[in-house]
Amino acid sequence: MTLIKKYIPLAICFLVGLMTLASYYVPNKTSENYLEVMNKWENIVAGFAFLLGLFSLFFSHYNKIRRKVDGWGYSLFVFVGFLVMVVPALMSHGKQMDGTSLTGLGWGYRFMFNALSGTMFSVLAFYIVSTAYRAFRIKSAQAGVLFAAALVLIIGKVPLGQLMWDKLLGWTHLGVTQIVQWLMDVPVVAGRRGIMMGLAVGGIVTALKIIFGIERQYMGKD
């Protein structure tokens, strides 16, 4: 049992990891084909896993309706939404367009799904305002620096702010757009690159841990 649950998965992980790593250095057609096969396998597994996901979704919402938990009415919409999209999709053979006209699936996708997705995305604008308000509450020296930098950026990005800067601080001969550009090009880029380098190093070490079987939590413990 240990062989099946532990050693064989670790051996597969080690071999596939090494081969994928080697394919970066081997410009051979064979290594290219190997990567293609791996991608195909991933898609096949994802296809089967999607069915599992679908069952999980239906099961959890069916239980909510059956037990009449708080907000069980929303669970009904999962089934209604599923039928509203799947039935037209079957009728139109999965096509969104029939010549120049929209099929039932295309109509649902364009006028329902896209509209709802767009609505969720637009909510971000309001959340950015509320999160900015929270960020601008100066409770420490670091928060003060953050506020000052953000204030300069806001002033530099809006025409009214630029006008105010020129009227009040024009005598300094420092253009706000140059300051904004400097902030974006120097401190912001330095910070981002520092984080990115740390992430890259962490990513390499995590990959090595998995390939050499030191990190095994993803497959459960022994």
Binding site: N28, A49, F59, L116, G202, V205, E215, Y218
Partner: protein
């Protein structure tokens, strides 16, 4: 008679002058230099997958502005296809984007690669192809003899030698630190975001509210998602021992399947297998905003005591974290997407920055083998800092003293090919 002779003499002189004047430009044109096709060679393009051929020939006085080279290729059927045309004063071996250890950057040699599948639909690696060059400068033209070459697949991309050396050094350091960890304990600095996990779970237990854990929208092959599942394992073990409620909504069904195993194992290890329920992990949607809307709704209705957002997040990061913040939950987040980190900083109580995300699993598990790998990350960061400093100094010196070879060497060593 004399007049006739005089006329004939004038005509003869006129003809002679006109013939000389007409001959002068012609001889001048014929004197235009022609390229030296004696050194024209075709061979397999090195470091490729076997679909290209490299053509080289010496540069010379014929490479003047206005002159052109035309490249022709022919397959087994002998039909010539025009593969390329370019100014004669371009395409030198020195222009190739390959490092100095893998390529001779010779400015006295023309070099170009011909991607054969672009011209031959029935292309096969290992098949012989013919090539010839044509030089055109106004009315002057010259054509090379046909040369033949076979495109072969290469076994090693020598241009990536710098990357391979770095990888080998990393692997050596990796195993050295792992063996070192067995002999001697290691000091690991505190990570506030991870120390707060106990506080968050304790709070949830006291309040009798659930804990939400999101692994983000990455697939199982993404390293942040793997790191997230490691943290989920430790969180689930603590949740099981406190007998608190855990909810893990998923974006990816494969991640859900893996997470189910991880959480089940954690409950077993905490000696609470009876508390494990199969619906702790559940699939929500594979659409980004549908996932965000659904999880937002659940957070809003169930008012969790703690929310974990650890993994790969994009625009939904703020949608999730902001709703969690309005419910008053303790929030711990971590992502590899540096563009989303500001949103987590402002909306969450603790954020794992950069490599802390990858260190979290080891930090929480306290296993010596895993902890030792954190040292590899530290060595890696030290190396990056040293490389940035040394590289900057060398480039500065090279620019200051105008040492082109030094600039070239440093530039090639630090470049990814």
């Amino acid at each position: 008679m004399l007049k006739t002779r005089l006329n004939l003499a004038v005509i003869a002189v006129f003809l002679a002058v006109s013939s000389v004047s007409a001959a002068a430009p012609a001889s001048q044109k014929n004197d235009l230099p022609k390229p030296d096709f004696a050194g024209f060679e075709a061979k397999d393009m090195p470091y490729d997958k076997g679909e290209a051929v490299l053509l080289t020939w010496p540069a010379g006085a014929a490479d003047v502005p206005g002159a052109l080279y035309q490249v022709y290729a022919a397959g087994a059927d002998g039909v010539w296809v025009k593969a390329d045309e370019f100014p004669a004063d371009s395409r030198f071996a020195a222009d190739f984007d390959l490092p100095f250890w893998a390529w001779k950057h010779d400015s006295t040699l023309h070099a170009m690669q011909v991607e054969l599948p672009s011209f031959f639909k029935d292309f096969k690696t290992g098949q012989e192809y013919g090539f010839k060059l044509k030089y055109v400068n106004g009315k002057t033209s010259a054509e090379s003899a046909e040369v033949k070459a076979v495109a072969a697949a290469n076994m090693f991309n020598l241009a990536r030698l710098n990357n391979l050396v770095l990888l080998v050094v990393t692997i050596i350091v990796f195993f050295w630190t792992v063996s070192h960890a067995k002999r001697k304990g290691l000091f690991i600095r505190r990570i506030a975001g991870l120390d707060a996990i106990d506080e968050a779970i304790g709070r949830a237990t006291e309040m009798g509210r659930p804990i939400f854990y999101s692994t983000g929208i990455g697939g199982m092959s993404a390293i942040p998602t793997i790191a997230s599942t490691s943290i989920l394992s430790e969180v689930a073990r603590k949740v099981a021992s406190y007998d608190t409620q855990l909810k893990v909504p998923h974006f990816d069904p494969i991640v859900m399947t893996v997470s189910k195993e991880i959480v089940k194992q954690a409950y077993t290890e905490a000696e609470r297998p009876d508390s494990y329920r199969d619906d702790i992990n559940f699939f929500v949607s594979q659409d980004q905003f549908s996932y965000a809307a659904s999880v937002d709704g659940m957070i809003h209705r169930e008012k969790p005591a703690a929310c974990f957002f650890i993994g790969h997040f994009m625009a939904e990061s703020l949608l999730l974290a902001e709703v969690g913040a309005t419910t008053g939950a303790i929030q711990i987040a971590g992502t590899e997407q540096e563009s989303q980190l500001p949103f987590f900083f402002t909306s969450c109580d603790y954020t794992l920055i950069g490599e802390e995300l990858y260190a979290a699993g080891a930090y929480l598990s306290k296993e010596p083998m895993l902890l030792s790998t954190l040292k590899v990350q530290d060595f890696g960061k030290a190396f990056v800092m040293f490389a940035v400093g040394a590289g900057s100094l060398l480039l500065l010196a090279g620019t200051w003293f105008n040492w082109q070879p030094l600039l070239k060497v440093v530039g090639h060593i630090f470049k990814a090919y």
